[in-house]
Point group: C2
Chain length 454, copies 2
């Protein structure tokens, strides 16, 4: 199998079926996985989506809705359905998915949906809505399979089968005491393989990884990756079991965090959706560009300061853009490596020190290598060895500035608790632009035109 | 719990324990999860790692080795162990992990390790070594739980328990026929919940997602994300079951692919390890910088072409760096959004067309917004409204160039089968640098200095 791509044939089939009778539409829809229908929805108008949801069996409809990307507004689809159909679908959803979808709506719509639900479902969803969506609490599903300490194998197995009626899939059984305090974990395999009169107390695994509900989702994702987890229990301050987070939600978090890193480092605000419209894109990017305009004036003011040097040697106007541009690119390289490294692991002091030292060395060597090329071009093309020397020194110097700022700024930001990806290339290139203009102009003024400058 | 960070206290404890007696060291090590010991290894010398591996129980030692990052060379650790200890550890490893680790070694070392193993283990590992490590075959573990069509509940359950002795964790039971052809999947829960005399034929789920062994790992990861999978079966061209891929391996793939995207787009070769040394970094980045040096000369040659314009209006030397720099940053924004979007989903023709159109519009609007600022600065600070107009037009024009190239180049590369992240900012900024110099100089020449130019 390949990953599913929406192609014109699929869309055409669905669109044709939408115009035909219900039986035909149902037949066509049966050939698609709920995830695929969710993807097809990205290309269909609102009425078509509603028609399809209404015709699908409730369990499939709810799976389709839970698979829709947040940015394609499953909440809006839900609110427009008939209240009975809507409640059926919401009750079929996992609580965490229901919460995410309902949270998209405005307060009065949320109330409308919640009022129609069973008291128990409504309460569970309301409780989940209190957690910040970027935390473990915001990711967790309160539906878990629990057995109690003191049960024997038979009791535990009966309990697991009874509770799993309502759950599609589970990987871990949680062991709690009477006060709902999490005592350990078990796999279904452990229970089945145990001898017939085994007690849970003997089977339970007490050495497990858990998270508090307030933990940031990025930290939760790191735990999944570090300990190769499929699921993690979420507890409160007293170790009371609140729910569990499964790895499929973590995959979404990881995609989201990687996207944010890549956008932020490129000077795009993290709020911009990848498939957002132009208004959103302008709103997200213009502030960074305006900041950059300010820093560009700062860099340009350096050039103005050396007006007489440029006037005497206009070729410098061309060369200094090369030095500045090369610095910007070298800084982007150092920045990308450092930001990505920080977001995957936490660096110790000595690792951070070594990272900066490495980038200094890389800047020195890459700077010297490019500097030699520039030197020879100045020597043979411009016939000016002193200009070559000026450019060699400026290139080496600016690539050192690039390495130092590209690595140290994100590391320092991380230490003081600011997201290191904010050290976007826009900020870092301010340094390399300034140094890229200052260094060649200063060296030129002092080494080439020394006698002409007062 | 927070994600584990190696701090000085942990390192000091381990180092002290390493100097003490074995019992003390064992006691200290017991307090750490195998993943944590693997992380501590990153900071310990080779002899310390060997001592710890030798003292740990074999199952823990093999878990530690399988948790070590590839770049910290678990293979080298393995090859230096006593052959008996080494074989015990390798036999405890999952075949896919053993294959990855042994593949790191040179041919003669591989042979040395494989010769000491059981025939069966050695054969399985040799078979896996034939798959490209970036494909489904390279990720899969051939150890799966299988039951046969025609079995009843009791037979199936016995078979599952028997086979699961050797496996730490499993989520899915695969149903095969006598020729080992994959017929469907089952969860352990389905088997347990079935009535006592149920047949596998009635329980089996025939609608499942699978992959061929040759599929690229990036496509495999997309399937996990699209269908929210925890595990996927790997088959050959005849649907014969070869193994399974679990989600923990996919998390590693996703981290690796995101890192590659971010590095490539920033002009860092994908071979550079995040924590690699300076030699590796220079080797990975210098080629891009040299390419950029060439393109920078190309852009600078435009400036030389307008020598007389710059000489007449030296202030343009400063302003054109602002226009070019702003274009570079706007292009980086458009590029990051486009590359990330392509790597998460496949765009249809009309989506691709709309993406370019959106970036054109964003470029026009952000260009005009920044152009107005530059216009007023030229008007009030330089007292030159015509210069303001030149800069307004150049800024708007260059940000349109930025939007168009930043979005269309990666899309075109994707269509012709080249990795779109290769459209690194280094390549894209060549366009914005050229246009950033050409536009203000050309407009200035024709609008401001028209009469002076021949």
């Amino acid at each position: 199998m390949q990953s599913f791509e929406i192609d014109k044939t699929d869309l055409l089939r669905i669109k044709t079926a939408l115009e035909g009778d219900d039986a035909e539409l149902q037949k066509v829809l049966k050939e698609y996985h709920p995830s695929e229908i969710a993807m097809l929805f990205e290309k269909l108008p609102q009425e078509a989506k509603e028609k399809i949801i209404n015709i699908l069996p409730t369990d499939i409809a709810s799976e389709v809705i839970s698979e829709m990307d947040e940015e394609h507004r499953p909440g809006e689809l839900l609110i427009n359905l008939h209240p009975d159909k809507r409640s059926e679908i919401v009750e079929e959803l996992d609580y965490d998915d229901a919460t995410d979808i309902i949270s998209q709506l405005d307060e009065h719509e949320q109330k409308e949906i919640l009022e129609d639900l069973d008291q128990e479902d409504a309460d569970s969803i309301r409780a989940l809505m209190n957690y910040d969506e970027d935390t473990a609490g915001g990711l967790m599903n309160p539906q878990v399979i629990c057995v109690k300490m003191g049960m024997d194998k038979k009791q535990a197995l009966d309990e697991i089968i009874r509770q799993s009626e309502e759950m599609e899939e589970f990987y871990t059984v949680y062991v709690i005491d009477d006060a709902h305090i999490l005592k350990g974990i078990l796999s279904l395999k452990d229970v089945i393989k145990a001898r017939i009169n085994a007690k849970i107390n003997e089977l339970v695994n007490n050495d497990f990884v858990y998270v508090k509900a307030e933990l940031d989702q990025e930290e939760v994702a790191k735990l999944f990756s570090q300990y190769n987890l499929t699921t993690i229990p979420v507890v409160d301050d007293n170790m009371k079991l609140l729910g569990r987070i499964t790895v499929d939600d973590i995959i979404d978090v990881m995609e989201q965090e990687s996207t944010e890193d890549m956008l932020k480092i490129s000077g795009v605000s993290e709020d911009e959706e990848l498939s957002g419209n132009w208004k959103e894109a302008v709103k997200s990017r213009l502030p960074w560009l305006i900041i950059n305009l300010g820093t560009a004036y700062l860099a340009a003011s350096i050039i103005r300061h050396f007006d007489s040097t440029v006037a005497q040697l206009p070729i410098l106007a061309a060369y200094m853009t090369i030095i500045a541009g090369m610095g910007g690119n070298a800084a982007t390289q150092a920045l990308a490596v450092t930001v990505r490294r920080i977001s995957l692991t936490d660096l110790t002091d000595s690792q951070a020190y070594n990272a900066v030292l490495k980038e200094f060395l890389v800047g020195l060597l890459n700077g010297a290598a490019n500097g030699i090329v520039v030197f020879f071009i100045a020597l043979f093309y411009d016939g000016n060895p002193m200009l070559g020397l000026v450019l060699f020194l400026a290139m080496t110097g600016n690539l050192i500035v690039a390495g130092l700022t590209g690595s140290s700024i994100p590391l320092v930001l991380k230490r003081i608790g600011i997201d290191p990806a904010v050290a976007s290339s826009i900020i870092i290139t301010t340094f390399t632009d300034c140094a890229g203009f200052l260094l060649p102009l200063w060296f030129a003024t002092h080494l080439l035109l020394h006698t002409h400058v007062k």
